[in-house]
């Protein structure tokens, strides 16, 4: 066990002890609406966790400016805890949020590994709070959650990524192309592999190679050298951001020269784009949200859910930066929770669950209506968009490719050396 984990655990244990010694802590819990945030504020998923935190905090700030400091007559409290992208620490934090912090609603985390780790801790608690998850695509989580009615997923599942990606490829290119898949040997890569393979095969693409890379490795050349011999037209990558940076650089270095480079979430993240520099050109990404989708304002709550263009401007002013996809997800999730508590006029979890399930708003992330997914009960925002990073006169920009009705351009092949 690393000292960092040990220190984190000691911190959590001390905090839990301190919380339990505070007189009246439990009694206070009933008088407030407390949002517990599980966020990766350090470690490999920091890009996701910081968005979860920003989204929650911005939603609370907007709520307070529009509706005042309370919801359903109760003060609003927010407790956001850093899980350091560490699974075992995340389990402790989930227990702490439920047992010590008495969170009414839990929001987060962002990363699939962390999400999968905390499910058992949440499920084992009989009086578990309502849990909204604006990230976590792994279907392992969906499987483990099952039909639990207190779980609300506000992000896409793994299969949504590949159904969307492959449909875009089929429409843009036709199926008569060869594909090589590179996947990481972690939970993310393995969870995505089966669905990527399934949809590519169903669409008629010819998979000429599947290569595994070790997550966190610094040298992917052996894999890429082997792959180069297969001359794939499309390289389809399934890995998290940190590995995706190195694979992008080394694909260029290995002179793989595919016609199309397909990714999952990495291409939307500014840190990936900044880290890879000019070689971001022609990579595609798939996401639940990106700026410029042009959704209208909600008719009943236009101040909380303005038109997406207005929301983006407002976000920029408040946070001094562009909104990212999980910023939007965490904002919308938090706002939906607040609206549900207000509608229920209670912090009772069954009443919140009912109000959430019945809610239907037009949000900056799209329509919020919860419907069943393949295995879980409450799913919203599973519709995804595909974009490509194309080089223009003033640098790189994300060009929407899919769905066709909002497309801004066509899939372009990668430049060859």
């Amino acid at each position: 066990m690393s000292i960092r984990i040990l220190a984190g655990r000691c911190g959590v244990a001390l905090a839990a002890l301190a919380a339990s010694l505070l007189p009246g802590a439990a009694a206070q819990a009933e008088d407030v609406f407390r949002i517990g945030g599980i966020a990766e504020l350090s470690g490999k998923y920091v890009a996701y966790g910081s968005q979860v935190k920003r989204g929650i905090e911005t939603a609370i700030a907007v709520w307070k400016s529009v509706r005042g400091d309370k919801v359903a007559g109760r003060p609003i409290e927010v407790v956001i805890r850093d899980v350091q992208s560490n699974n075992s620490l995340a389990v402790s934090v989930m227990n702490q949020l439920i047992q010590s912090d008495k969170a009414t609603v839990i929001i987060g985390p962002g990363g699939s590994d962390v999400g999968a780790a905390v499910v058992p801790a949440w499920k084992k608690t009989e009086e578990r709070p309502v849990w909204l998850v604006p990230g976590v695509s792994s279907t392992v989580v969906e499987k483990n959650i099952g039909k639990d009615e207190y779980f609300f997923h506000t992000f896409s599942w793994t299969y949504d990524y590949h159904e969307t990606n492959v449909d875009m490829l089929k429409r843009a290119l036709g199926p008569d192309h060869t594909v090589a898949i590179i996947y990481a040997d972690d939970a993310y890569g393995r969870a995505h592999l089966d669905y990527a393979r399934k949809y590519l095969k169903e669409a008629g693409f010819k998979i000429v190679d599947e290569e595994l890379v070790r997550a966190g490795a610094n040298d992917f050349m052996p894999t890429l050298v082997k792959l180069r011999a297969m001359h794939p037209q499309i390289v389809y990558t399934l890995m998290q951001t940190d590995d995706a940076v190195l694979i992008a650089k080394q694909i260029r270095a290995a002179k793989l020269d595919p016609q199309y480079l397909i990714g999952t979430a990495q291409a939307i993240l500014p840190e990936w784009r900044s880290a890879v520099g000019d070689i971001q050109e022609c990579w595609t990404g798939v996401a639940t949200w990106l700026p410029g989708l042009g959704y209208p304002a909600d008719k009943t709550e236009p101040k909380l859910f303005p038109a997406s263009a207005t929301w983006e401007t407002d976000w920029r002013q408040r946070n001094q930066r562009e909104a990212e996809f999980m910023d939007a997800g965490a904002y919308v999730s938090t706002m939906l929770a607040l609206l549900a508590v207000e509608k229920a006029n209670s912090t009772d979890r069954d009443k919140i669950e009912k109000a959430l399930a019945e809610g239907d708003y037009m949000t900056p992330l799209g329509e919020s209506k919860f419907v069943p997914s393949e295995l879980a009960v409450h799913q919203a925002f599973s519709k995804m968009v595909v974009f490509q990073l194309q080089k223009g006169a003033d640098g790189f920009k994300s060009v929407l490719l899919y769905p066709a009705d909002i497309a801004q351009g066509k899939l372009q092949s990668c430049p060859t050396e």
Partner: protein, 291 residues
Amino acid sequence: MALFPQFVIDSLLQGGLYVLIAVGLSLGFGVTRIINFAQGEFVMLGAYGAFWLLTLCGIDPILAIPLLIVAGFCAGWLLFQATVRRVLEAPALNQIMLTFGIALVLQNLAVMLWTGDLRSASPAYATETWSLGTVVIIRGRVIAAGVAVLLVAAVLVWLRLTETGRAVRAVAQNRDAATLLGIDPLRIYALSFAVVTALGVAAGAVVSFLINITPFMGFPILLKAIAIVVLGGLGSLAGTVVGALVLAFVETAVSYYVPEGPGWTEGIGFALIVAILVLRPSGIAGHSVAA
């Protein structure tokens, strides 16, 4: 067999990278007998230093190395005087806890200063290549291997041909005898710690364009460096070079020739270390002092 030339080239270049990250740890242990658990964080700080010099001042990471070496040397000297010298005579556990503590402080300092965002320096040569038939050679990795060779050569020249270097070796071999000869061991320890820190920072400048830069990049680097140093023989620079190359060749061979090999590299690499230590507990080169 078609992959063999590429396998050899990749192994050598990976070996160069491994030498770079392990040489400081090896030298540090050889002289002070303290395993510096903050060595990975010095690499991290060097990587950030190179990244920011490139981003803010346009200074290429390779050209930044001399500047970073000076900064690392000064920081190492100060750190030794402020902390490490106080545990020189303390039990090993205290020394480990101290250097772990320094690592944690540096990690968190990096998070506060630069956030946890992932970064990477992208000079053109990081992805530029030379082609020899079907063999592709990445310039950035050749540069890393070249810097590793230069640094090891410089350390060896310093240890063998200079008065101070000979004093370092004398203290490493027998501190009491060296003291009787008029050598101040505390000054030698401080000097060694400063050099080790400078080596870590220099390694960081090189890896800044080869791997991702985050505040948490140090720990995996430290693990790999410890594995190499243990494999080669604690405190032996020659052993460290051999250990780095052995590990690089084994890992690369597994990646190339074993189905789903990249997933097994770490496991097989550590299995090799266990096997070698069972057969030869002092490591490949056996225990020697700083050379």
